[in-house]
Subunit: 240 residues, 2 copies
């Protein structure tokens, strides 16, 4: 995975720097640059970094945005407000897809602004592209480290090979196995007097719909066979 640089511009709270480092590491990112932080280093940054102290320790602290991005080929700035002069802008998923398409040796930076004021207009004009996280219009104010987490999550999915979810541990049952179960169930319920042979109603249909919908595996069919075998009345009920 190409390492995308995360740049925090003048963060106020050291906890957010640590939280951003942790968010990055969970998504395989490690290149953190902090521009002119108010309070850093700080024990709160370390505490919030948790198992990502290595990312925090390797972070560069620089004096201004220029020093953070001068060597970068594509610079993205996070933005919540719409601008007087519209800039190319996209949601995190699309930005991540665009980054995944950049040449392998492209250095890419994503800028995150101050907790209270975001990025300045000057800083946003330094960017090739702007990024906006979709959020509720009533309260679109994500915490800084949370914003890093969401963007890093999309980057991870764009870059990482999608790891298939673990497979099921048993083979699905065949239609024949399931039909044999239904026949077994039906005869058991008839023997128990629960189903009237002459007027069966919809019970079997509803049981079919339930058990077909759930796509049983072989073991589940065997368990149900065992259950119904164990519950089969020893002798047929007295004839009426």
């Amino acid at each position: 995975m190409s390492d995308v640089r995360i740049v925090l511009v003048e963060p106020s709270h050291p906890g957010n720097i640590g939280g951003a480092a942790r968010a990055m590491k969970t998504m395989g990112l490690s290149d953190l640059v902090v521009v002119n932080p108010k309070r850093y280093p700080d024990p709160q940054a370390d505490w919030r970094a948790a198992g990502a102290l290595d990312v925090l320790d390797a972070a560069r602290v620089v004096a201004d945005v220029d020093a953070a991005i001068d060597d970068c080929h594509w610079v993205v700035g996070t933005s919540t407000r719409s601008r007087k002069i519209p800039w190319p802008i996209a949601y995190p998923k699309e930005i991540a897809a665009q980054i995944a398409e950049q040449p392998g040796d492209a250095r890419i930076a994503i800028l995150f602004g101050r907790e209270d004021n975001g990025l300045s207009n000057d800083e946003l004009r330094r960017c090739h592209y702007h990024l906006q996280i979709p959020a509720s219009p009533e309260y679109p104010s994500l915490n800084l480290a949370m914003a890093v987490q969401v963007v890093a999550y999309e980057l991870y999915q764009a870059f990482a090979e999608v790891i298939p979810m673990p497979g099921w541990d048993r083979s699905l049952a065949t239609a024949g196995e399931v039909e044999a179960l239904f026949a077994h169930v039906q005869s058991t319920l008839e023997q128990a007097g629960f189903l009237d042979v002459d007027n069966p109603g919809q019970t079997m249909t509803r049981l079919r719909r339930l058990l077909l919908r759930v796509q049983m595996d072989e073991t589940e069919v065997q368990i149900l066979r065992g259950v119904f075998k164990a519950l089969t009345p020893a002798s047929p009920p007295a004839a009426e």
Copy 2:
């Protein structure tokens, strides 16, 4: 948007409860239930909630998971480890899509486990479905409130109508307008002696490729026309 319940099971750090409330509100969620928190209420929860104090204040604190989910129709548990008996499991994007397909009156809960231990096996067996956030195998340990943020972000996108990004403020230039610009540029550069009429080389082709690739709008074409007009030499350079 259907309100999905977020359930935090035995969180240790009050800051995470506040952080989760804020994460929820940024994505339009408000139904927060906290099961047997270690330290809550707490000023740290309020501080991290920031502008989402209303969500935090409305949160229910209950003694056990049963009380949190008994009225729910579909319960999802977050999980990082794979289980001995595989359970239906999906990534947040797919879970959000499945939730969006539930009937409108379905009450849905998503359980988030303890910071150190996650959900117990018993709690995971209470769930219809499991959810796993894609993360780096080296350090897949998202902070609790960060996990809530990622899941809420996917829910917001599944439920909210996608708000189109703000449009461009000017119409794109037509091919005719762009050709007129190129003719103007070429004659200006020829007058300035920068282009040799008899041996023009590739300069114009490269300028064409640059300016066509960028899809200029009308104003940009006008600005460039103005620039080249202003820079046209007063008189042709002395003939060689």
